[in-house]
Point group: C3
Amino acid sequence: MSKTLQELANHLGGHVIGDPSVCITGLGTLDSATEGQITFLANPRYAAKVETTAASAIVLPASSETFGRNVIVVDNPYLAFARLLTLFTSRPRRAKGIMSGSFVGEGVAIGIEPSIYPGVTIADGVRLGDRVTLHPGVTLYEGVVLGDDVTLHSGVSIREGCRIGNRVTIHNGTVIGSDGFGYAPNGPSWFKIPQIGNVVIEDDVEIGANTTVDRAALETTLIGRGSKIDNLVQVAHNCRIGENCILVAQVGIAGSVTLGKHVTMGGQAGIADHVTIGDNAMVSGQSGVFNSVAAGAVVSGTPAIPHKVRLKCAAVYPYLPEMRSTLTKLAKRMRKVEEQLELSE
Amino acid sequence: MSKTLQELANHLGGHVIGDPSVCITGLGTLDSATEGQITFLANPRYAAKVETTAASAIVLPASSETFGRNVIVVDNPYLAFARLLTLFTSRPRRAKGIMSGSFVGEGVAIGIEPSIYPGVTIADGVRLGDRVTLHPGVTLYEGVVLGDDVTLHSGVSIREGCRIGNRVTIHNGTVIGSDGFGYAPNGPSWFKIPQIGNVVIEDDVEIGANTTVDRAALETTLIGRGSKIDNLVQVAHNCRIGENCILVAQVGIAGSVTLGKHVTMGGQAGIADHVTIGDNAMVSGQSGVFNSVAAGAVVSGTPAIPHKVRLKCAAVYPYLPEMRSTLTKLAKRMRKVEEQLELSE
Amino acid sequence: MSKTLQELANHLGGHVIGDPSVCITGLGTLDSATEGQITFLANPRYAAKVETTAASAIVLPASSETFGRNVIVVDNPYLAFARLLTLFTSRPRRAKGIMSGSFVGEGVAIGIEPSIYPGVTIADGVRLGDRVTLHPGVTLYEGVVLGDDVTLHSGVSIREGCRIGNRVTIHNGTVIGSDGFGYAPNGPSWFKIPQIGNVVIEDDVEIGANTTVDRAALETTLIGRGSKIDNLVQVAHNCRIGENCILVAQVGIAGSVTLGKHVTMGGQAGIADHVTIGDNAMVSGQSGVFNSVAAGAVVSGTPAIPHKVRLKCAAVYPYLPEMRSTLTKLAKRMRKVEEQLELSE
C-alpha cells in the first residue's frame, strides 16, 4: 500500500507541513523507520529525533519543532500512529462461508458473509449477525445471539442464552456464561443455586484469551460498551461492568460488583463481592478492594487504600524491624529517665 | 409448572401457616415477586417486607412474624429457596445419543442415555456411566473413567487415566490431569520428572471454567466428595482436597498440599507446597499461606496470620509514615532529655 | 522392563558398589520400594534408611554410607531418579497418522510420523516437523511453524505466524499468540493498536495448561530455550523470557518485560511492564515486582524488596498495633518528662 502524506493527513484529520505529495508505504519507530516510512513523536523527550530520523515523515503534536521535515500535525500522535498502523496492516476479510466439518443446528439464523470453520458447533435456534467469524472449536449453546462483525477465536464457548453485541472480538479459549459460583449451605455440604440468568456483552468489547465471565444467578452479568478485558480475567455472576473499562490480565471480580465507566484495574487486582467502583477510578495491580471506591479515586494494596498513602507506607515498610527495635530501646531509656525523675509510668 | 403451597411445603419438609391450596407458579425476591409467586425471607433485616410483598406466599424461619400471610416455615429459608428455584427451573434432560461428528474409540463402554455432541473425542477403552453429557470439543484421553450423571461442558479435557465420580459437573475449558510441574535441576537446565499418577474426582464435585487440576507425580491428586471449585483455579500435583471444600476463583494450590474437610479459600488466595489446612479453616481472599493452618482457624494476608490480628494490623498500616516520623522526633527529644539529665543512651 | 544394576549405572554415568548383575524392574521410594526395585537417597536426613529399605539397590551420592548394600554412586541422585523414572515409564510413541476428522489446509507441510487427531484444524501453509503429535481440538492458524517432536495437547491454539521449536510440549487449552493488550486512548474510548508481531518458542520449552502467551505488537514475544511454564500463566506482549526460566502457576508478566537466564518466579507473582529481571534472580510467590531486579537477587512482597528484609518485616508486622499503642504512650510520657524538666518539645 502506498499513500501520499496528504491522504494520510486527511485520514487522521491532521494537517501537513512540508511536501504533501510524499509517498508513504509503511510505518516504523523514530529509531527503526527507513525512507518511505512514517513515524511518530508521542513522548516530548524524543523531540530531537524528529530532526535525525530516517523516516520520510513524522506525525507530531502542534507544540513540536518540525526541523523543516515533512510532518503531519495532530492532537494525539499515539492515537494517530495506531490508526495508521491499522490502515497499513489490516487485510480485507474474506468470508469463508460455512465450512465442511462445522455443525449448525436447526433454525439457526446466519447473516451475510459468515466464516464458520471446521469444528464449530452451533446449537438450535442460535442467531448470528452479518460477517461473523467463528474459528475452529467455537461452541454456541442454545439461545445465543451474536451481533454483526463478531469474531470468536478458536475454543471460545458462549453458553445458553448469552448475547454478544456488534464488533465484539473474543480471543481463544474464553468462556462466556458458565454458571455463577453459588451454593446454599446444607449441613456440611453445599446445595447448588441454579444460575438461570445470562451474560450480555455490549458493542465494541474485546476480551482476551482464557478469560471467564459467569452468567448471572437470576438476571444479567453485563460487560459495558467499549470495555477491554485481557487474558485470564474472572468476572463473576451478577457483575455490571461499565463502559470503556480496562481490566488487565488475571484480574478477579467477585459476584455482584458494579464498575462505573472508564474504570482501570491493573493486573491480578481483585474486588470483593458487592463492591461498587466509581467512574474513572483506578485500581493498581495486585490490589485487593474490599470496600467501595469513589469516582476518580486511585487505590492500591490489600486492603486497598489511596495509592499515594500506600506508596508512602510501602516506603516505610522495610524500616519496620528498625522501628520496633528503636521503640524498645526508647521505652527502656524512658524508664531510666522516669526513674531518675521519680516519675511513674 | 404450578404447585400448591402444601405440595411445596412437602417438598421442603416445612409446614404451611395459612391456605395450603394457594397455587404457586414461580419465584421472586421480596421486592420483585408478583401474585402467584413465592418468595423467601433469609435476612431478618427485611422481616417487615413479609407484610408488604406482592408475593402469594413466603418461605420464612419459625422465628419470623407471619403478618397473617400464607407462609411455609422451614429451618433454612435460603436453602429452601435454592431448592424451589431448582424445582421450578430444572428442565428434564433429553438424551441426544451419540451424535454425528463425535469420535468414539475402540472398546469404549457407554452407559444408558448418553448425550455425546459433535467434536467430542473419546480414546480407546474409556468407560462412561449412565446419562453422561459431553458437550462439543470434550476430549477424553485413554483410560478415563466417568461415573453416572456426569456433565462435561465444551472444551473440557480429561487426561489419561483420570477418574471422575457420579453427578460431577465440569464447566467449559477446564483441564483435569495435565502434567504436574516437576523438574530436577540438571546443571543450568531442567530435567522433566515423569508425571505418571492421575487425578480422582469424587462424587458431587462441581468445577468451574478454565480451571486446571494436575495429575500426581506417582500417585493421585484427589478432589474430595462434594467440593466446589470456581473458575481459573490451579490445583497442583499430589494435592488432596477434602470433602465439601470451597475454592473461589483464581485460587492457587501448590504441590502436595492437603486440605481437610469443608475448607473455604477466598478468591486469588494461594497455598505454598506441602502445607496442611485443617477442617473448616477459612483462608481469606488474596492470602498467601506458607505454613500449616489449624482446624477452624481463619487466616488472611501474605504471609497469612490470624484474620482478626490481620484486620487490626491493616488498620494501623496507613499510619506507618506518621509512626516513623513520631519515632524519629521522640528519639531526638529523648536525647535532649538525657543530655539535660546527664544520662548516657 | 528389566535392567541390571550395571546397565542402569551406565545409563546414569555412575558406578556400582556391590553386585552389578542384580536385576531391577522398577522404582520406589525408600519407604515403598520392594524387592527388585531401585530407590534413591537425595536428602541426607534419611541416610539411615539405606540400611533398612526393602529395595534391591539404592542410588546415592559419594558421601553416603552404603551399609554393604548394592548401590549406584552418582553426583545428583534426584536427577538420577528422574532419569530412571523416565527410563522405566516412557512408552514408545506410536504414530497415528492423519486421522479422520482432522482438517488440514492447503499447502501444509507435514514431517514424518505425525499423530494428528480428530478435531485438529491446520490452516493453509502451516509447516510441521517430524513426529508431531496434535491432540483433538488443536488449532494452528496461518503461518504457524512447528519443529520436530512437538506435542500439543487438546485444545491448544497457536495463532497466526507463531513459531514453535523442537521438543516443545504444550498442555491442554493453552493459547500462544493471542493479541497483546494495547489500546490508545481516544477520548473516553479505546482504539485498538494492531498486534502484528508473533510469538517464538525455542527448543525444549514445556508449557502447562490454560496458559496464555500474547503476540508482540510489532516484533516477537520470546520464550527462551529450556524454560518451563506452569498452568494459568500470563505472558504479555513483547516479553523476552530467557533460557531455563521457571514460571510457576498463575504468574503474570506484563508487557515488554525482560527475564534473564534461569529466573525463577513463584506462584501468583506478578511483574509490572518494562521491568528487567537479571539472571538467576528469584521472585517469591505472590510478589509484585515494580522495579528491575539485579542478577542473583531474591525478592518478595508487593512491592518486592529483598527477601531477607521482607521476612524480617513480615515477622514484625503483627506487632504493628502494639507498636502504635506503645508509641502513643511514649509520647505522652515524654511530654510529662519534658514538662518536669521545663523543656519545650
